[in-house]
C-alpha cells in the first residue's frame, strides 16, 4: 500500500501501524455484545470474512447466520431491530449495498428501525477479484436514501467509535471499511462525534478532505508538501452523511484549493457531496475529486489500484501542487 518514501514519512510523523479496521470492528462488536445481550450480529456466510468467528464462538446465541442470501440478511436484520434487538447485518459491502439496496431502503431506512449495516471489504479491498467485488457505488446510492447515517472510518479509532455510536443509535447506520492494516492517525485525546470531521493537520494553502482509508495518504501528502513549504489542511470526514458542511465550507473559505479523496466512484460520493455544499454556499475554490474514475477498474491489489488512480502520497502531492500552480491542470 505504501512506497518506501511514504513509509518513511509515516515514521517521521510518528504513525504506528494498527490492525485492519475489519479486525477492530469485530473486536469492538464482540466487546459491546458481551455487555449487551441485545446486540446481534447477522451474517450471510460472512462470519469468516467478517472476522466474526470468535464472536460466534464466544456468543453463539447472538449470531444469526442466514446463508448466502443478502436480501434476507437485511430483512432479518430489520425484523430483529423492530423487535427490540440491536442488530448488525454484516456482509461484503459490494453485495450488501447492491443486491439488498431495496431492503436497506424500505426495511431499514424507511421503516426506521435501529439496525446497523456493516459493509466489510469495502471499496476496492478485494482488489484483483474484480469489479463484481468492489463497492464503488455504495456511498452514491445510500446517500440518496433518507434516514441513514453513513460512516467510513479512516483508522482503528474511528472504526471503534463508529461501532460504539451505532450500538447506541436509535436510527439506521451504515459503516464500511476495508481489510488491510491501517496506520493509527489520531492522538489519544481526539474526540469522535458522528457528523463532525476531524482536523488532522491545519493549514491554509490547500485542504485534503478524505474519507476512510484514503485519509492516511492525504496526511502523508500534506506532510511531504509541508517540507516544500506548503501548509495544507487534512480533514478526516468519517461521516459522509450527515455531511459536516460547516467544516467543509470553512476549508473552502480559508484554503486556496480543495482536493477530496475517497475509495469510491468519483460520481455521487464524498467529492460531489462537498462540491454541492461549496457551490450552493457560493464558495468557489480550485477543486478536484480524487476517487475511482468511471471506467473498467484496473486489475491489481487494493494498493495497486490506489496508486494507479493517484490515491497515494506521491499522487496527491503532485495533484495539489498542480492545482495551486498558476496554470491549472486539465
Amino acid at each position: 500500500m505504501f512506497t518506501p518514501a511514504a513509509k518513511a514519512m509515516a515514521e517521521k510523523l510518528g504513525l504506528k501501524m494498527g490492525r485492519a479496521n475489519l479486525d477492530e470492528f469485530a473486536a469492538a462488536l464482540q466487546e459491546l455484545a458481551k455487555a449487551n445481550p441485545n446486540i446481534i450480529a447477522v451474517t450471510s456466510d460472512s462470519r469468516g470474512s467478517g472476522k466474526l468467528a470468535p464472536f460466534g464462538q464466544a456468543l453463539p446465541k447472538q449470531l444469526v447466520e442466514v446463508g448466502i442470501a443478502e436480501q434476507n440478511l437485511v430483512g432479518i436484520t430489520a425484523g430483529l431491530a423492530a423487535c427490540g434487538k440491536k442488530s448488525f447485518g454484516v456482509s461484503p459491502a459490494c453485495f450488501l449495498t447492491a443486491r439488498s439496496l431495496e431492503q436497506i431502503k424500505n426495511d431499514v431506512c424507511y421503516s426506521d428501525v435501529p439496525a446497523t449495516l456493516v459493509g466489510i471489504s469495502a471499496g476496492v479491498s478485494y482488489g484483483a477479484l474484480g469489479s463484481t467485488h468492489h463497492s464503488l457505488h455504495d456511498l452514491a446510492t445510500l446517500r440518496a436514501i433518507n434516514n441513514l447515517t453513513i460512516i467510513v472510518p479512516a483508522d482503528n479509532f474511528e472504526t471503534r467509535e463508529a461501532i460504539r455510536a451505532a450500538a447506541k443509535a436509535v436510527h439506521p447506520f451504515f459503516i464500511r471499511f476495508g481489510k488491510a492494516a491501517t496506520y493509527d492517525l489520531h492522538r489519544p485525546e481526539t474526540k469522535f462525534a458522528v457528523g463532525q470531521a476531524i482536523t488532522l493537520r491545519d493549514g491554509k494553502d490547500f485542504a485534503f478532505i478524505g474519507t476512510g482509508e484514503t485519509v492516511v495518504h492525504c496526511l502523508l501528502a500534506a506532510a511531504q508538501l509541508a517540507e516544500r513549504g506548503l501548509n495544507g489542511r487534512v480533514l478526516s470526514l468519517h461521516t459522509v452523511k450527515p455531511l459536516d458542511a460547516e467544516t467543509i465550507l470553512k476549508a473552502g473559505r480559508e484554503c486556496k484549493a480543495i482536493i477530496t479523496v475517497e475509495e469510491h466512484s468519483v460520481h455521487g460520493g464524498l467529492g460531489e457531496a462537498c462540491a454541492a455544499a461549496l457551490l450552493q454556499a457560493g464558495v468557489s475554490v480550485p477543486f478536484r475529486i480524487v476517487g475511482i474514475p468511471d471506467e473498467d477498474t484496473v486489475t491489481g491489489t487494493q494498493a495497486d489500484i490506489f496508486r494507479h488512480y493517484g490515491i497515494s502520497m506521491e499522487g496527491l502531492a503532485t495533484l495539489a501542487t498542480k492545482l495551486m500552480s498558476p496554470i491549472r491542470p486539465m
Binding site: 446463508g67 432479518i76 430489520a78 423487535c83 427490540g84 421503516s111
Partner: protein, 281 residues
C-alpha cells in the same frame, strides 16, 4: 379478546368491503381486487387471532402482523379503523396531499409494524421478528400475508429456507391465493404451482383453507400447524370477492371504480348485508 361469531364476522367483512371500496373511490387510487380477496383473512386475524390492540401496540409481547402484499393497504386501513387504531373518518384522507395514509403501509399509522409495498419483503422481516421472539422466549407469534403473484420474488424463498432452518413455529405465512396478478393469471405470468408441495419441500407445515371460510381460517390460524416448523396457510380466495363484476377479473387488481360502478358494488354488498341480517333473525 371478546368472542365474535362467524355471522358477526361475515357482516363485518361485508361492511368493511364497502368501506374499502369507498376509500379507494375517494382516493382515486388503490388496489381493489386484492383488498377484497384478503378482507376475510384480515378480519379473522384482527378479531380472533392477533393479540394486539390500540392499547397493546407498544407491548413487546404483542403479536406481529406484517402485510407483505402492502398494496392491499386500503383493506388493512379499514380493519384497523374498525378495531379502533384510528377513527374511521381518516379513511377519507388516504392518498391525499400530506396525509399520513399513504397507498402502502407505513409505521406512521397506528397498528402498522413495518413499511411495506415492494414485494418479497414481509417474510424476511417476519423471520427476523420470529428469531427475536425465540431469542427472548417471548410468547408472541408473527404473521405475514403474501400475495400469490408475489411469490415470484426470490427473497421469499431465501426467507422460507431460513424460517425452517431456525424451526420458527412462531411464524405463520398466509398466502392470499386468488390466482390473479396485475397482468393476468399467475399460471400464465409465472407458474408457481404446486404451492403446497413447494412450501413443504422448504420445510414448512402447510394447510390449505378456503380463505373466505371463517371457521377454516380460524382453525388454521389459531395455533402453529406443527411444533418446530413454520406454518404456511394457503388461503384460496377470490380476487374482487363480494362484487360480481370485480370477481376473478385481473383488471380490478388496481382498478378504481367509477361513481356508477361504486354504486353498483355498494348495492350488491348492501343486498348481501341485508340477506345476512335476515338469516340472523
Amino acid at each position: 379478546m371478546s368472542k365474535i361469531t362467524d355471522h358477526e364476522l361475515e357482516l363485518k367483512s361485508v361492511r368493511l368491503r364497502k368501506k374499502t371500496l369507498e376509500a379507494i373511490f375517494e382516493a382515486g387510487a388503490g388496489h381493489t381486487g386484492g383488498g377484497l380477496s384478503c378482507m376475510d383473512i384480515l378480519n379473522v386475524l384482527y378479531n380472533r387471532i392477533l393479540r394486539v390492540s390500540p392499547e397493546t401496540i407498544s407491548d413487546p409481547n404483542r403479536d406481529r402482523y406484517v402485510q407483505s402484499k402492502g398494496h392491499s393497504v386500503e383493506a388493512l386501513y379499514a380493519v384497523l379503523a374498525d378495531r379502533g387504531f384510528f377513527p374511521e373518518s381518516e379513511l377519507k384522507s388516504i392518498c391525499r396531499y400530506q396525509s399520513p395514509f399513504v397507498g402502502h403501509p407505513t409505521r406512521h399509522i397506528p397498528g402498522i409494524e413495518m413499511n411495506t409495498g415492494a414485494l418479497g419483503h414481509g417474510l424476511p422481516i417476519g423471520v427476523g421478528m420470529a428469531i427475536a421472539g425465540k431469542m427472548n422466549n417471548a410468547p408472541y407469534r408473527v404473521f405475514t400475508l403474501l400475495g400469490d403473484g408475489e411469490l415470484a420474488e426470490g427473497s421469499n424463498w431465501e426467507a422460507a429456507m431460513a424460517a425452517a432452518h431456525y424451526d420458527l413455529d412462531n411464524l405463520t405465512a398466509i398466502i392470499d391465493h386468488n390466482t390473479l396478478q396485475i397482468s393476468g393469471h399467475t399460471h400464465d405470468v409465472m407458474s408457481n404451482e404446486p404451492l403446497d408441495e413447494k412450501w413443504r419441500a422448504f420445510g414448512w407445515a402447510v394447510k390449505t383453507v378456503n380463505g373466505h371460510d371463517f371457521t377454516e381460517l380460524t382453525d388454521a390460524l389459531s395455533k402453529p400447524a406443527a411444533a418446530g416448523k413454520p406454518t404456511c396457510i394457503i388461503a384460496n380466495t377470490v380476487k374482487g370477492r363480494g362484487v360480481s363484476f370485480m370477481e376473478n377479473t385481473a383488471k380490478w387488481h388496481h382498478g378504481v371504480p367509477s361513481e356508477a360502478e361504486l354504486k353498483q358494488a355498494l348495492s350488491e354488498l348492501d343486498a348481501a348485508e341485508a340477506k345476512l341480517k335476515e338469516v340472523a333473525r
